[in-house]
Symmetry: C2
Subunit: 119 residues, 2 copies
């Protein structure tokens, strides 16, 4: 129960960084080594290594061994856990849309305010 919360903590946190999301994007095209992953970025190789450790601790990636290299692989299962969390609220959101629709059809707005924003 609470361990799932910690797993979501680390997974969402891991994705809250453009470098790490970019690493995920790269890995979706196949495994890569730390040096390969570090190449597009201006930060040091050590910094990228830390980012990979963050992703690994969140279990979004796994690692294997090939001589001195430690190739990084995407772990698809964890991404599913995130969509699963978000999907919990998808049905509820659709219900809210239906409620809003009902309100808009049956009633006029009360006070002047910025009721809805679109983006």
């Amino acid at each position: 129960m609470n361990s799932e919360s910690a797993a979501l903590d680390s997974a969402f946190m891991a994705l809250a960084d453009p470098v790490r999301r970019s690493i995920i994007a790269r890995l979706s095209r196949g495994p890569a080594t730390v040096n390969e992953l570090a190449e597009p970025f201006e930060i040091s190789k050590q910094a990228v290594s830390k980012h990979i450790q963050v992703l690994e601790q969140a279990e979004l990636v796994t690692r294997s061994r090939d001589a001195q290299r430690r190739p990084v692989h995407l772990n698809p299962a964890r991404l599913e856990a995130l969509t699963a969390w978000i999907d919990r609220y998808r049905l509820v959101r659709e219900a809210q849309f239906r409620s809003l629709d009902a309100v808009l059809r049956s009633n006029t707005a009360d006070s002047g305010d910025q009721s809805s924003k679109e983006s």
Copy 2:
């Protein structure tokens, strides 16, 4: 291009906290005031107010006004943006699974590298 990255930064970061995820869960059942949202937690009302500001800056929630109260509402659109990002890799992952299947059937120990794509 980069503004979407910043939007994903703030949205993923906002969800990387159990209190804020719990607030999202609560709001999926309808709008609530800060006092109502703060009630289940042991932290101060000010701390919850800060959490809501984080969610608001990530545009995961919006606020309206009702006398002294400022009810918080869920903003479904932003959650969709997160699933959209994750879904980018769902198809790729399925392709990887198919590649793996092909490798297992042909039993050739070689890396199935894909052509390059950008995101």
